[in-house]
């Protein structure tokens, strides 16, 4: 049937393509124009303004540091969780279900949860105070404690974002045929060798998707940081938000948006090149 009417697949995806063009490509082009124009004429003024801003370098630095700190940890934890759960027979679903709870919580709510734990009169300080470890409430989230603030935001991000990586990795692990592992065992390969030589190469596509998704999301981190650090920890999306919402300058906000898009695209390309997936294993 498809051979007789080769246009049918195209016809079927046409609505979604039209939808994307209307609601994604058009606003995208508008954003790019907004970023690189001034009063209706092309101009680099907004980009210059963005680069000259006092928070620009800090926000780039913070965003990258956070990504570098968070993504590998999340990947490692997710791999560990995935392999652990693979051995479990009964109750596997329940464990997976509990582990994915953070997925159901919005970014901002997750930030607020951690805020209630870590603010001055929060649970963490109360606990330390109760145990007699500290004499008075310490602040963990102020501009005077940048290391603690960074650590706290990283922990909150890891808590919130690991579940999605784990879901993808568990799906990948499920597709690894048992026979491969059994064959390796027969030939005397230990668990470590089996993991490095069999499991890891076979879940490459899952790893690639998980890494792309998490890295792009890490570059777009905002709500958790906003709830915990406010102005003390500028990140790229936060700056875009501030320029649009507080400063009412849509041009500079658009410049930030374009910059975030470029960084995300570059990261995706790097992953696509670095973690090669055989063509026949693509979906």
């Amino acid at each position: 049937m498809t051979n007789n009417r080769p246009w049918i697949p195209y016809l079927l995806i046409l609505p979604s393509v039209a939808f994307l063009a209307l609601l994604f490509i058009v606003p995208l082009l508008q954003t790019i124009w907004l970023a690189f124009s001034d009063n209706g004429v092309p101009s680099p003024a907004n980009a210059q303004r963005m680069i000259a801003d006092i928070n620009f370098t800090r926000s780039i630095k913070n965003t990258f540091l956070l990504t570098i700190a968070v993504v590998p940890v999340q990947l490692a934890i997710a791999l560990a969780m995935g392999t652990m759960v693979a051995k479990v027979g009964r109750g596997r679903e329940t464990i997976l279900w509990v582990w994915t709870i953070p997925l159901g919580i919005s970014d901002l709510a997750a930030g607020l949860v951690w805020l209630s734990i870590l603010q001055n009169s929060g649970y963490f300080n109360s606990m330390l105070l109760g145990l007699g470890i500290i004499e008075r409430q310490a602040s963990w989230l102020s501009y005077q404690t940048p290391v603690a603030l960074f650590f706290v935001i990283a922990v909150a991000e890891i808590w919130r974002g690991t579940a999605i990586v784990m879901v993808i990795i568990v799906a990948g692990l499920n597709q690894v045929p048992k026979e491969f592992r059994e064959a390796a065992e027969i030939f005397g390969a230990g668990p470590w060798t089996r993991f490095w030589r069999i499991t890891l190469p076979l879940i490459r596509p899952a790893l690639q998707s998980a890494l792309i998704l998490r890295t792009v999301l890490a570059f777009e981190v905002f709500a958790v940081v906003y709830a915990l650090g406010g102005r003390n920890f500028p990140v790229l999306v936060g700056e875009a938000y501030t320029w649009q919402n507080q400063n009412q300058n849509y041009g500079v906000a658009a410049a930030y948006a374009v910059l975030i898009m470029i960084i995300s695209l570059a990261a995706t390309l790097i992953y696509l090149k670095a973690i090669k997936v055989d063509a026949e294993r693509l979906p």
């Binding site: 602040s139 989230l141 501009y143 009412q248």
Partner: protein, 424 residues
């Protein structure tokens, strides 16, 4: 039959959507947004004035909505309630109905002419009617008073005394006890424009980078040593005050009200400190305006008259803590917290060294970037410890460009200017 039925469904749906819209007067406001306050507006302040749909909107979204309706040429909003500075860009685009008749009537009813004149926004006709007013004050827990430096009067503090006070409190409690709302949603920029700059330099824009300003910033650095570092996370000071994180705070009266009303016996409320040029203070005026092309102009006029009547103004003061724009005496049985705040406002206005500083005018949609100049200076000088002179020079250039771009003339306390307000 089927066709008839679908026709019936379409017709009834259209009727259902069309009829209530016509009956209601849509009142969009950037003020009294929290759900408790909005409920008071809907259920108490707007009672007996017909069918009003009170809609609240965040200031940035408000600006977008008004501009979108203007561009589309179809108005759904009949009445807007917003701050002086938020109405100013609407007046600049000439999108507000002149309200001169109403103003004359209200002037005869006891609204001070000086307040009404603010509502002209520098134009020849009345752009908005002053609805309610507020200002910023300082509040302190009573237990903080024992640390006041000898001879200091809390109602006539100077910056040196405040620093001394902060130092004593820190030594006694082991923690910095002064708080400012320098968080993402805090009104810290208004502190610089209405309090800090006027007090130290006697101006806001003209005097931005002079020697007086530099001396002021040094003083603020000294004060900041006794300010709680969490201040850069505080949005509303009532929360840290109530939670016991700070004992002394500066903020907008509406953002202190909950803490003070909940325990009026625990607090004192007093004017902000004075610097070498006087005691700067900034009155905040919210106004009511009718957009051009409003679907229900008569209904809107009726609501303005209702909200500007003496009874409703007093009710507004006691229920939400914004003070009347009419010359009316506050009742004896006022909420004790509101009475404390009102007392501090009167003390501020009556101070011999009071120096009034108006909300910025004529900046259009650049109000946010104007605030940013002051907040960036604060971040660089106080938080990042950069040299004062360099920062003021760089930020002064940004400010000067902003004033030239917007062509905004000087406002009080800066001396009047021909053309854009210069940075000297």
């Amino acid at each position: 039959m089927k066709r008839l039925m679908s026709f019936g469904i379409v017709a009834s749906t259209m009727l259902a959507f069309a009829s209530p819209v016509l009956a209601q007067t849509v009142f969009v406001s950037t003020q009294l947004r929290p759900i408790e306050e909005a409920t008071i507006v809907r259920e108490e302040l707007l009672q007996d004035v017909g069918d009003v749909d009170y809609v609240v909107e965040e200031p940035p979204q408000f600006a977008v909505r008004m501009e979108a309706e203007r561009q589309a040429g179809t108005r759904t909003v009949s009445l807007v309630g917003a701050l002086h500075g938020e109405l100013s860009p609407l007046a600049d685009r000439d999108t507000l109905e002149p309200l001169d008749e109403l103003a004359t009537k209200l002037a005869a009813g006891g609204m001070p002419q000086s307040l009404l004149d603010l509502g002209k926004l520098g134009k020849s006709s009345q752009q908005y009617i002053p609805w309610m007013q507020a200002t910023y004050v300082m509040a302190a827990k009573k237990e903080a008073l024992q640390y006041l430096p000898a001879g200091a009067d809390v109602n006539a503090l100077t910056y040196d005394q405040l620093i001394e006070w902060g130092k004593k409190m820190q030594e006694a409690t082991g923690q910095p006890q002064i708080g400012f709302p320098a968080g993402p949603k805090g009104l810290m920029a208004r502190y610089f424009q209405g309090y800090f700059y006027p007090s130290f330099t006697g101006g806001v824009v003209r005097t931005f980078q002079g020697a007086d300003a530099a001396a002021g910033w040094e003083k603020l650095r000294a004060l900041w040593a006794y300010v709680n570092p969490n201040s850069t996370n505080y949005d509303f000071m009532q929360e840290p005050l109530a939670a016991g994180e700070v004992m002394v705070a500066w903020d907008h009266i509406a953002r202190l009200k909950n803490a003070i009303s909940a325990a009026p016996d625990d607090y004192v409320v007093f004017p902000a400190p004075a610097g070498p040029k006087g005691r700067g203070y900034m009155p905040v005026i919210a106004g009511l305006a009718i957009p051009k092309g409003a679907p229900d102009k008569d209904g809107a006029t009726k609501i303005i008259e209702h909200l500007a009547s003496a009874d409703v103004q007093l009710l507004t003061a006691s229920r939400v803590g914004f003070f009347p724009t009419l010359n009316v005496k506050l009742p004896e049985d006022l909420d004790p917290g509101v009475a404390l705040l009102a007392g501090a406002v009167t003390t501020t206005q009556a101070s011999k060294d009071a120096l009034i500083s108006l909300l910025p005018v004529g900046l259009g949609d650049k109000g946010g970037e104007f605030n940013k100049v002051y907040m960036d200076s604060f971040q660089r000088i106080v938080l990042q410890n950069e040299p004062v002179a360099d920062v003021l020079k760089a930020q002064g250039q940004t400010l000067a460009k902003l004033m030239t771009d917007t062509k905004a003339a000087c406002w009080a306390p800066d001396a009047k200017s021909d053309g854009p307000c210069p940075v000297e």
